[in-house]
Amino acid sequence: MRACVIGAGLGGLLAAANLAREGFEVEVYEKLPYAGGRFTNLDYRGYHLSTGALHMIPHRERGPLGRMLRQLGAGVEIIPSQPQAMFRIAGKDYTYEELPSLFSLRDKLKITKIIAMLKLGKATSDESYRSWLEKQIKNELVFKIADSFTGWSLSLKASEVPAKEVIAQTKNINKLGGPGIPVGGCGGVTKALVEVLQSEGAELHLKQKVIAIKQNGRAFEVVAKEKRNYDIVVSNAGPKVTAELAQEILPREYARAVSRIKGAAGIKISVACKKAMLGHSGVLFTPEAERINGINEVTNADPSLAPQGEHLLMSHQRLAEGADVKREIELGLKDLHRLFPEFKKYCRVLAVQVYRNSWPVNRAPSGTHLSPATPVEGLYLVGDAVKPEGWMETDGIAAGVEEALRHIRASY
């Protein structure tokens, strides 16, 4: 059986490594000169920045990605964040458990109830997380905390994500724990996966752009530099691009439906610091900042991500559709100065990176739940548009790959 994987992002690499281990002859096509897509390192002035993700895996070594990396024999160490998360409110940092102490007795009871409801994982209707919260409590700080969480992890406002998605995600956090930092950052994971591909005999073609997916009898014909035939095609190029590549074989309604999906956009600011500004390896949520949703300082877990003795701080903020990007960046930078009064003394901005349009944070917003199976048997989708309910970020990608593999195993 021959499998073609289009795109060497995290989803493509995971799918390719699994298929190769299951006996498929695998070829991966990547248009860029490097593997990893939005999940690898960008080395700049001694700092390991990233092409996208913030060097964190949402459920440390215990989630779908950690499990899959272990099963594949990819040698990646994931260091659990300690503490998992802090929340900066009125200049002080609080743990999740300490948050109720910030509120009046009446609201405290309501918040304890909300936390219990999130934990119990009760599915609700299609209402947004924000309107679900509004039914329980009227408190601006609660809404800001919710926005900082969904902004950091999903690049969405609480009003843009279904309540049942957040409830399912919270359940997974309670069960598996919060984030972890892969040693070597995103690039450490990508490198390990490329090594798995090599040891399994899969071929990785860099700088080879696929221009069409056609059908040739029972087989697929994939057109890149050459035309080659495959039994299955797994696309990590995103639903829109995949529908364009396969326009001869996919139904038009499907292409129209996926063309309507709007991705989630965001801005990441990477900062070089002469000293630790957070001092821990967890997420600092910043509900009261103007734009920034959260910050991490991964060098507290893996010092090799910055030059010796220095630190790498990264902030993330959701980018609203149609917003003035330069103004949003300015507001993000202002937040950093406000959050860290010593910013000027110890920190310097290394890079401002925007993720939108054809290179977004997520190709489909959390809660979309696009199936990895397409209407054409043998053509599958993986990547950040294909995340099953309750799974966010890279763990969502791995969970989507698991689902794609289940479909493939059932048919081949």
Binding site: D43, Y44, L49, Q353
Partner: protein, 54 residues
Amino acid sequence: MLVREERCVGCAACMPFCPNEAITVYGVAEIDRERCKNCGLCVAYCPNDAIEEG
């Protein structure tokens, strides 16, 4: 090298690969024409086909 602003998202994937430090990115990439030696590396590293020769 020329940045096609309508395609550039501002992801800065090109920036570290420029051997002449000719690229700055602030919402969109800008190439310093005096520093740029037209080596074309940025064209290859752009995920969005947003840089072309010129």
